[in-house]
Amino acid sequence: MTDTPAISVRGLTKVFGDKTVVDAVDMDVPPGAIYGFLGPNGSGKTTTIRMMCGLLTPDGGAGECLGYDILTEAPKIKENVGYMTQKFSLYGDLTIRENLDFMARMYRLKNRRKVVDKTLTDLGLEGRGDQLAGTLSGGWKQRLALAACMQHQPRLLLLDEPTAGVDPKARRDFWDEIRRLSKRGVTVLVSTHYMDEAIQCDFIAYIAYGRKLIDGPAAEIPAKVGLHTWRVDGPDLTELEDALASRPGVEQVARFGAQLHVSGTDEAALAAVIAEEKKKNGTHRWQKKDTELEEAFIYLMATAADNFGAPGGPGE
């Protein structure tokens, strides 16, 4: 492992028709990191990932992926990257074994039989190699797809919403696997819009309407978002939640178990609201807390609804 970034792109831009779908995105993914790529639907995550691995030609910008130029060295990138598409895209009418074997041949692996057998064993699918891939459940399809793009032992994994529509148990299993791979030194870029996945990432970039709004180490994201948060518990939280939501200065009320986390970017305005509440209703316990990734994530995802269609965004 060297210290050159696994991915380093500058000004990446893609225009479809008259719509700028990805707008001057810079991104640096350190080697060995789990890098979370966050953004609402239609914000340009898939398009960005496709440009990074040479599947789409950027209309602007440049960069490197594993040290190879994304504009001119796509074949090299493809040989060293494992890309798992958003939609399950192995062959449903081929068996599990045939799919794995096909992918192994695409990368011209030596000892193909052995590699495929091992993949099947690791997946726990030894006995089911002859089952058609199309008949697998959602969670198994995702795991199969991940295994298929890992057989050639890529140094970089690009996972595009790998767990969309998968049940929570399968999602946890999937993330256990990602962390295992990360420990072995594989760099993982994963797009998601699940909070429980976002908080497992070492780095995070947030994109909306094709523009990157925030990025950095996960621990620094809350500060960059600039939220101030109070925690409150006590009786009748639902009424309190409704009452707080409409107050100026309160931008977000999120329930965590038996607590509410009340956040806003204007510290003074938020404090004023809370002081007022305390006076009015002594039964609640209020406490200032550090804003964590959870609050920051909810805040980010809430500020931009689905990005399909409308050009421009919150900034315009």
């Binding site: 496709r50 691995c53 040479g54 599947l55 789409l56 030609t57 796509a74 074949p75 493809k78 040989e79 990257v81 890309y83 598409t85 939609k87 399950f88 895209s89 192995l90 062959y91 449903g92 009418d93 081929l94 045939e98 074997d101 096909f102 992918m103 041949r105 695409m106 990368y107 011209r108 793009c149």
Partner: protein, 376 residues
Amino acid sequence: MHLSLARFGAVLVKEFVQMRRDRMTFAMMIMIPIVQLFLFGFAINSDPHNLPTLVEMADESPTARAVLAGMETSDYFDFIGVVTGQEDGDRALRDGSANFVVVIPPGFERDVIRGLSPDILVAADASDPTAVGSAVSALGGIVEVAIKQTLEGPLAFAAGRPPPFSVSVHRQFNPEAETSINIVPGLLAIILAMTMVMITAVAIVREVERGTMETLLATPVRPFEVMVGKVLPYVLVGYVQTIVFLAGAGLVFGVPFIGSPLAFFVGFNIYIVVNLALGFLISTVVKTQMQAMQASFFLILPTILLSGFMFPFAGMPGWAQAIGAAMPATHFLRLVRKVMLKGADLADIAVDLRAMAIIGAVIVVVSMLRYRQTLD
């Protein structure tokens, strides 16, 4: 970057497996030639016989009867009744109950003997020219023979004079004018055009539609490996179709194959490749399997109409001939007819091969230019 035989083989094997699993499509590919062969060979007959015919007899003489008997034995005409005036005959033609009305003029036999060349009037329903055309053209000969046979014995002297009708129809290669012999070889061109183009276009677009193309493009596979690997299995389908078809044509319809098998084999392979390339080209234009099918159907219609399959090529206006000449089926159709029916060899079909090669080269170049190794 160099090509890899392993990757090419992987695409090939995958395609075969998928083809095998897709029983429905595979069965259809084999059934299409058989069904078409029987449809066109038996049901669709542009040289129909036993056409309903009415007679208006103003002369009941033996000679007149002999003419009618001759017409009836020819099989073209089926006498369904007698009319007594022009009005009845016209009505029958109009409402379609008869295709012909034959009018024997009064004093027909007497005039024949006197050498006055009496006129037998045949009113034909020409609204369907294909239906009545061959019967009409056969008429002259039939009547002539009938008159010769009748004018024997005491009337033999009249036979020496010029016959009242002098229509001579000379048909080379297919003296009985059996349409099936002419139409069946042409049908092979149409069937291959239809299935090969569609099956390739659909097979490729299916990958795009299902999202598997993205996975495929994200691997190091080269476009050439994908293209040839995906298309080659369908060449084999074309082989199977052709064998089934030729067997059926020979066994059921007695279509001869008198030319050079080598010439046929060469032409046939070029034709298949051109069609597969055309299917590939379509796949670079359309987005869904549905569109791929529509585009293939859109192409097949002019192929049927303008290739010379349905209508004689020489009879078409210049612009239609130009369109026809740009279609590979036109040239393969000529090639097959030449080889199967006229005994042509390689030298005889060189012109057709060249035309197909030129069309094929253009298609391959355009589709290579259009093919994207990215998802743009």
